[in-house]
């Protein structure tokens, strides 16, 4: 079958079973858009800004586990997409980005809308390709999908010059890929796994620390079984929320900079730590020297060898697919005759119980201002804990992570690594595309939402009834919090004057807008909003301007050096 490069591109997407492409047309991709027009298997979602195309495709991948696909034009199309590509890269999200490029004879001549796409994106993709000849197009796209989804996943970009999309070649889609330079490890080393299980059985104060890798590796079920069988405490990172059920008694909450008192203390004082699909990053363990002031043995399971012993030296490294490794661990646990010392474990739980007794997530429930924590608690109740929740970045993100109890994986979608404001709304769109029947809530703030607010228009066009929970404190809340605590109350440029009337704004896009100013109205407003199944509802909650996120570990401090509330300031 002889096809143009553009037709080949679309055929490849069909072969990969791609449902949706999120994108924005332009000069360099006109042939590809023409090929899209002539078929109906792959549906295109027209966003209002390329950054949103990337976030939507990214969240589609996070929610569904399938590879997200975005399509952008050359030059500004690509540069607008870079934030979204970097967001996906930092959180290891499988994506394929197709970008247009100026025709091959024009490359390097500063042509209109030319940019060195491969160069600009190189540090924030798992891999990228410039396709110089139409004959290489199909095999390159095949490789892109393979690389994106295998091993530690990540975004892969395929840059297609306009003439390549116009030229004709025989279309053959390769059945399989083999790359001598890329062979991701899957099975963990049996000897190491045996050693790890033995170490777990010897533990007196064990702790299990779970990151986003367990969600990406579809290993939540295996993890949950293993943790329950062992009877050990478990914490999830921001990216790992939902990997272990948030309502389970063995769950000690999220850890890290805004983690719970009990999770951070258990992390610091455990004697054996099992880390699964997590990477000991600065927001999780704080100051590494402080972390090492206590002795503990560490087992680290990760698919990426470079994540192991990067910030923290570990005793038992296990490189492999987390699901496979956990299954092998489970078998050994089942067969083991030795069991952890029951008395020691009981004492450890007693200690954790005392830490829990601090009730570190308490807040003032008598205030006549709307407390943001209260909004999230009510959101949890009203949605039955069963919504897909996306968030932007800042205080609202932390409150959502702390107060919405995620029992299942792929329900909490946020930009954890890059911390991209503007992620929430387009992410909600991507999740809603993946699951049209699901309840999707975007928890955001008045600053973040304005970074991609144009997507209210996309929601209208594609009937995506996402619910926006705007925690409006008229401040760049997390910046204001740091300025209060670390910069002597000097609120430099963190107050936003001249906010839009979000209710009218939502209405002008054809949606429902509602402003909530009293605590008593929070729950009824949420109930009404979520009852409107087929509409976007923008809920503008006017919250307490001075509320801060606690607990808080100041940047550079130790994990246990927490501020627990305003009284610690």
């Amino acid at each position: 079958m002889r096809l143009t490069g553009a037709e080949i591109t679309i055929q490849c997407l069909q072969e990969e079973g791609v449902e949706f492409v999120f994108g924005y047309p332009g000069g360099a991709v006109l042939y590809i858009y023409d090929a899209l027009f002539n078929q109906d298997k792959v549906k295109h979602i027209l966003v209002r800004h390329e950054q949103a195309a990337l976030h939507a495709a990214d969240a589609y991948a996070r929610a569904s586990g399938r590879t997200g696909v975005a399509l952008v034009t050359s030059g500004p199309g690509v540069t607008n997409a870079v934030t979204g590509i970097a967001t996906a890269y930092m959180d290891s999200i499988p994506m394929v980005i197709i970008s247009g490029q100026v025709p091959t004879p024009a490359i390097g001549l500063d042509a209109f809308q030319e940019v060195d796409t491969v160069g600009i994106t190189r540090p924030c993709v798992k891999h990228n390709f410039l396709v110089k000849h139409v004959d290489e197009l199909a095999s390159t796209i095949k490789k892109a999908f393979y690389v994106a989804a295998s091993g530690r996943p990540g975004p892969v970009l395929v840059d297609i010059p306009k003439d390549v999309s116009q030229h004709i070649a025989e279309f053959v889609y390769p059945k399989s890929v083999s790359m001598r330079s890329y062979n991701p490890v899957t099975k963990g080393h049996s000897g190491q796994i045996k050693k790890a299980v033995q170490m777990l059985m010897e533990a007196r104060r064990p702790m299990i620390y779970v990151g986003g890798g367990v969600i990406l590796g579809n290993a939540a079920e295996q993890l949950t079984k293993l943790v329950r069988d062992l009877g050990f405490p478990c914490t999830n990172t921001l990216m790992g929320l939902g990997a272990y059920p948030g309502t389970d008694p063995q769950f000690v909450g999220m850890l890290g900079m805004h983690g719970t008192y009990e999770a951070n203390l258990a992390m610091q004082h455990c004697d054996v730590l099992l880390a699964v699909g997590a990477r000991f990053d600065d927001r999780v363990i704080g100051n590494p020297q402080h972390f090492f002031s206590e002795n503990r043995r560490i087992i680290h399971v990760d698919i990426d060898p470079s994540s192991i012993s990067k910030r923290v030296r570990v005793d038992v490294p296990i490189v492999g697919n987390v699901a496979d490794v956990l299954e092998e661990m489970q078998k050994l646990v089942n067969a083991a005759t030795a069991r952890p010392d029951a008395t020691a474990l009981k004492d450890w739980w007693k200690q954790i119980g005392e830490w829990r007794g601090r009730d570190c997530l308490r807040y003032d429930r008598t205030s006549n201002l709307i407390k943001p924590q209260y909004v999230i608690e009510k959101l949890y109740e009203v949605t039955g804990g069963d919504a897909i929740v996306t968030s932007d970045v800042g205080q609202h993100q932390m409150w959502a992570a702390q107060y919405y109890k995620f029992d299942k994986p792929r329900r909490w979608l946020n930009s954890g690594g890059l911390g991209t404001m503007g992620f929430g709304l387009p992410a909600a769109m991507g999740a809603q595309m993946a699951f049209p029947e699901a309840t999707v809530a975007c928890v955001t703030g008045e600053a973040s939402i304005q970074m991609c607010i144009q997507e209210l228009s996309t929601c209208k066009q594609y009937h995506l009834p996402v619910k926006i929970v705007n925690l409006n404190n008229r401040y760049l809340g997390m910046v204001r919090q740091w300025q209060q605590i670390l910069h002597g109350n000097r609120y430099s440029e963190s107050y936003m004057d001249a906010l839009p009337d979000f209710v009218k704004l939502a209405e002008s896009y054809g949606h429902v807008g509602v402003r909530i100013e009293n605590p008593a109205d929070v729950e009824p407003a949420l109930r009404e909003a979520f009852a409107l199944k087929d509409r976007v509802v923008f809920m503008d909650f006017m919250t307490d301007q001075t509320e801060n996120v606690f607990p808080m570990v100041k940047a550079g401090q130790g994990l246990t050096e927490m501020l627990l509330g305003a009284e610690d300031l």
């Binding site: 491969v118 001598r180 470079s306």
Partner: protein, 163 residues
């Protein structure tokens, strides 16, 4: 500590910039980097001279292995190896200095490959220290220009790095 890393990578456009970009993005030291195609034109062999603690070298090796275009990475310091660098030096050679420079070049097993009535161009190969020693042995003010390739390395004995 100084380490010499040997890499085999796909001989493709952009592979070099991926390696160089990795070093700058992650703040790794780079003393020298050489690269050229091997007897198999689809593969390039690269030698990188870097330095850092054992932890940093381990991370560098892991990060290099993570690059899709990199086929193999080996730290030559893990065994015995030979290191060679090529240097071309143009020196002012006039009067009685001409004989002295010739003698010094001979001692270092250098060859004079270009001559004018006022200059010599000397070719030298060897490990870095030897080339440094030659530059120290002649009068610095005589040096007009030096060109060095950076080190290439290969393991000793039967051991080979190949696909």
């Amino acid at each position: 500590m100084r380490h010499i890393l040997s890499l085999l990578l796909e001989n493709e456009a952009g592979a070099l910039s991926r390696v160089a970009g990795l070093f700058s993005a992650r703040g790794y030291n780079i003393e020298s980097l050489t690269v050229a195609p091997t007897e198999d034109p689809t593969l390039s062999r690269m030698t990188i001279v870097t330095s850092g603690s054992e932890e940093v070298i381990e991370q560098i090796t892991k990060q290099l292995n993570k690059l899709i275009d990199v086929v193999k990475v080996f730290d030559l310091n893990e065994g015995n190896y030979i290191e060679r660098e090529l240097m071309l030096v143009k020196v002012r050679a006039e009067g009685k200095d001409r004989e002295e420079l010739k003698r010094t070049a001979d001692i270092f097993r250098g060859r004079i490959i270009d001559v004018t009535d006022r200059t010599y161009t000397i070719e030298l190969t060897g490990p870095r220290d030897k080339l440094d020693a030659f530059l120290d042995a002649i009068d610095r003010s005589q040096i007009l220009e030096t060109v060095r390739t950076g080190a290439s390395g290969i393991g000793r004995g039967e051991w080979v790095l190949r696909v």
